[in-house]
Symmetry: D3
Subunit: 132 residues, 6 copies
């Protein structure tokens, strides 16, 4: 099994609802360093998991939908807590949709799985993994 | 599949028995940077894998049982080599016990697996993964 | 010359005013991983630059004044852009005040200089250095 | 499940064939920071996954076959693109052969799986995982 | 004193002349992770050291002159060893020229010093610092 | 001004005397990731700060005098607290002696300054800098 990972980041504001969040119920923010990992059983004819240029471009585009924004104002996230683990799924699902749309190239149709890790600090991060 | 990781560290002395350990048979020490990863299939109602505050508190408490000590003097480890890989299992098993005791919150009962990575230097680390 | 550094982090929301900031004029957020470095010419009688426990406690307390907040609402920062470089100075100046107040211990009076580095992502950070 | 990882690096020149590679079709180079991970279900009698000294020595030896070379001139790679993901498999397969030859010690025969991660920069890396 | 740092990378082939270089006399390659640090005594009216967007764009442009190339074929480097420390000076001097040309904005004329760090692996790096 | 840095590590046991050390008065241990930085005004005829191979070899040799040992038993450190900042000076002074002895090559006589950083964890480190 092979995988390829590209890293980018996003800077957002948000707040959480629920006593479990303590002071994070207040409006605050985070930098998420985002690792997107693409998995496949065998390499393509060019010896690639995926076109790394397209992978990086599409990851940046997806993060651009969130970047420099207050996620509390995003209608896609109305009424939900945009936790690190939840956002990892958002990014992974949006990458999966772009792969299905052919935006990561025809070769990307051979991918079997993607993982997204969101690092919120040097001491905490979350990952979501899904099949394609 | 989702996961959440929290990082802490512990500083211990110990020695090893067996020729395979070479100079590490002498009393020496290590800083272990410890990553505890909690896995579950679906997020809870708050969109969390686990209460990150409780996870960090309990990890620190478990490491506190080892921290600033000579592990050769710990009766729990009498006659065993406290290698990095062995200590990863010790921390994971103690976390599992605290999860079972409810110390990471009721939501933590939905966790399916935990992994503990102990980094002994910038060029070596070990991981233990177990079901819950 | 000796120095000692301790690391912590803070998660804030803020926005910037001025066309130079582009999309960062919108309300967004950041995690700042914060390194506070204490300098002195000679070690104290315990062979320390500063009491590392007190240094970490006071850094956490200073970051606690900012943590999980929207800096746009902080009266201390009314009408100013809370850029990474500006915040490095805020943290350094507040540390200097606590050193002068004796909160980092009597030994800390031998410190000559402090630096604060704020890392806003894996690809950008800022530092402020000042005499004591 | 246990694992142990050792890190080393290698510095090579190479070029790629195929339009997908863009400017990387030109002769260029890379430092690969290489993480070799060894997996097994249970620790051996010394509480080890593998003899870490032998693991590091053999990884260095394998990387030494590639180090400070132009991979375009290596007959083993004639007509193939030596992408990061491809090289991860090369290193993993060569480690597997050395394990089979007993070079990582008798205990290494209990290993079930190895993974090799090659980091080509701070923002991109690839992994290959195989059974033993 | 304030500083701001931006990070990028470049992937090159090259070889060295001289017995001191041992196997690095052969054609090989490197990824250099490059940190460019800009220093100034006081922040500008926007509370900035330098426009981070322009700084990143110009650093990428300078690295683009070297990226995916064999430095042995670059007439600028004919007859010289393109060591890590030498390349740090090349990048710093080219940044200084662009600052003088106004490409980093008018505010960048207040910069007093720049440093460039080139990381060739996880265990070796070099820095060049110069006045502006 | 140029600098070159090489990284290695050392694993030791030790204990501290004095109430300021709290639980670190007990016998414990640490991994120190050690960065040795060599400074000089101009590069030598090979475009080097120092022979990186000799620098790494000598750093490893110096750390080998401490590695896998209980520093409380080292007569060189009788009656002193082997704090991180103190050990940074020990390593720097021993490097300076080897430079004076010619062990880092004749070119190393052009070095003006060395710094040693000892990282005791992901959140704390110390540096000692001295002239040559």
């Amino acid at each position: 099994m092979f995988s390829l990972t590209v890293r980018d980041h996003v800077m957002v504001a948000h707040s959480f609802r629920g006593e479990v969040f303590g002071p994070a119920q207040r409006l605050h923010g985070a930098t998420f360093v985002v690792d997107a990992t693409f998995h496949r059983a065998e390499l393509d004819a060019d010896n690639l998991v995926v076109d790394i240029g397209l992978a990086a471009t599409e990851l940046t585009a997806i993060l651009g939908e969130l970047n420099y924004r207050n996620l509390d104002d995003d209608p896609d996230f109305a009424g939900v807590n945009t936790t690190t683990e939840f956002l990892a799924k958002v990014v992974a699902d949006r990458l999966a949709a772009r792969i299905a749309d052919g935006k990561l190239g025809e070769g990307a149709r051979g991918l079997s799985e993607i993982s997204v890790t969101m690092r919120e600090s040097h001491i905490a991060w979350a990952t979501y993994t899904r099949a394609l």
